[in-house]
């Protein structure tokens, strides 16, 4: 089996990330319902908990990888000229990588 982020690997990532995001979304809803944080300080205290920070990090990793597979599929289907397709894939990859770096930076800021 090939090991690139394509084919079966991409297909599996898309499904596993969808399941994780759904579970995380339900967890967030229930957490907000059970413990509504009225102030920023309280919310920040909750996010700073290591387990929550890791769960949020995994959520965004799942979101970005899910976006990569889904948007890559759209470009593979509809961006017909080969050069335009590679250009748009590069723009997409760079944007998602930038978003990932920004999210990591934000989570590190919250930890301070």
């Amino acid at each position: 089996m090939k090991c690139q982020f394509t084919g079966l690997v991409a297909w599996r990532v898309q499904r596993i990330s969808a399941i994780y995001m759904l579970l995380f979304f339900l967890y967030m809803l229930s957490a907000l319902w059970l413990h509504p944080w009225p102030t920023y300080v309280e919310w920040r205290g909750w996010v700073r908990r290591p387990s929550i920070s890791v769960a949020i990090l995994i959520f965004f990793a799942a979101l970005l990888s899910h976006m990569w597979v889904g948007l890559r599929d759209v470009l593979l289907d509809y961006a017909r000229p080969e050069s335009l397709r590679w250009f748009l894939l590069a723009v997409l990859g760079t944007s998602l990588f930038g978003a990932a770096a920004w999210i990591v930076w934000l989570l590190l800021q919250v930890q301070k």
Binding site: M1, K2, Q4, T6, G7, L8, A10, W11, D73, Y78
Partner: protein, 249 residues
């Protein structure tokens, strides 16, 4: 009966156009192909493929009132008039209802549609248990008419890269054949962004298959096989009433 048939002669037409016909039905006109054969006797420039006339060869696949099917097994009484006939969508038109199936057969060829077994050839034949044989049901019946691939949007976008439902149901037929010894290579051959995973489960293929087969189920079974999830039964097939049922022994 009123018909509107797509005409295209590459020697004098710049693009296809619809030509209207009207023909009196005779008592022997049971299927659409019967009507087309009589129509061709009146207008011998009308071009179409046909051969067995009983839904076995797949030659007369065409788009009938917006839906792919075989003219020879399409009852005339079920058709809404005017009957609009076009060539199979997305395939390059050679003339009138005849299309170029080069990409289609290249994709079929790319899945190595034959048994690969380097073991010593037995004296008589390679035996198979009834259970193993049952797993081929719903796949071996494919007649390669191209109704499914031609109705598949994923095949429209990438006919040179996506194997298409017809090719994939053939891939299934050999991946799940207990006598074949090339399963890892076959799965590896399909494991990229295009060949298998361009399928977006639109399921037009299963909707239009004139033999009642389920290429989308075959594609799902191949994915499960890639995940090493083995399923003991064969493919779903459709009954004549269009109700899905599993073919039994």
């Amino acid at each position: 009966m009123k018909l509107s048939i797509s005409r295209y002669n590459p020697e004098c037409d710049t693009s296809p156009y619809l030509q209207d016909y009207e023909i009196e039905l005779s008592p022997g006109d049971h299927m659409l192909l019967d009507v087309l054969i009589r129509l061709k006797a009146q207008d011998n420039t009308l071009t179409l493929r046909k051969s067995c006339r009983e839904g076995v060869c797949g030659s007369d696949a065409m788009n009938i009132n917006g839906r792919n099917g075989l003219a020879c097994i399409t009852p005339v009484r079920d058709l809404r008039e005017p009957v609009v006939l076009r060539p199979l969508p997305s395939f390059p038109i050679i003339r009138d209802l005849v299309v170029d199936m080069t990409h289609f057969f290249k994709q079929y060829q790319s899945v190595s549609p034959y048994l690969i077994n380097e073991e010593v050839t037995p004296e008589k034949e390679r035996l198979q248990s009834p259970e193993d044989r049952e797993r081929l049901n719903g796949a071996y019946e494919c007649i390669l008419c191209a109704c499914c691939s031609s109705q598949c949007p994923s095949f429209w976008w990438n006919p040179d890269k996506f194997v298409g439902p017809a090719g994939l149901i053939q891939a299934y037929r050999f991946i799940f054949d207990s006598r074949d010894r090339a399963t890892p290579q076959r799965l590896d051959n399909l494991n990229d962004a295009y060949r298998l995973f361009r399928c977006r489960t639109i399921m037009n293929c299963s909707e239009v298959c004139p033999k009642g087969l389920e290429p989308s189920h075959a594609i799902e079974m191949i994915r499960l096989k890639m995940l090493n999830i083995d399923t003991p039964r064969g493919l779903l097939v459709q009954s004549s009433a269009g109700i899905k049922k599993r073919e039994l022994k």
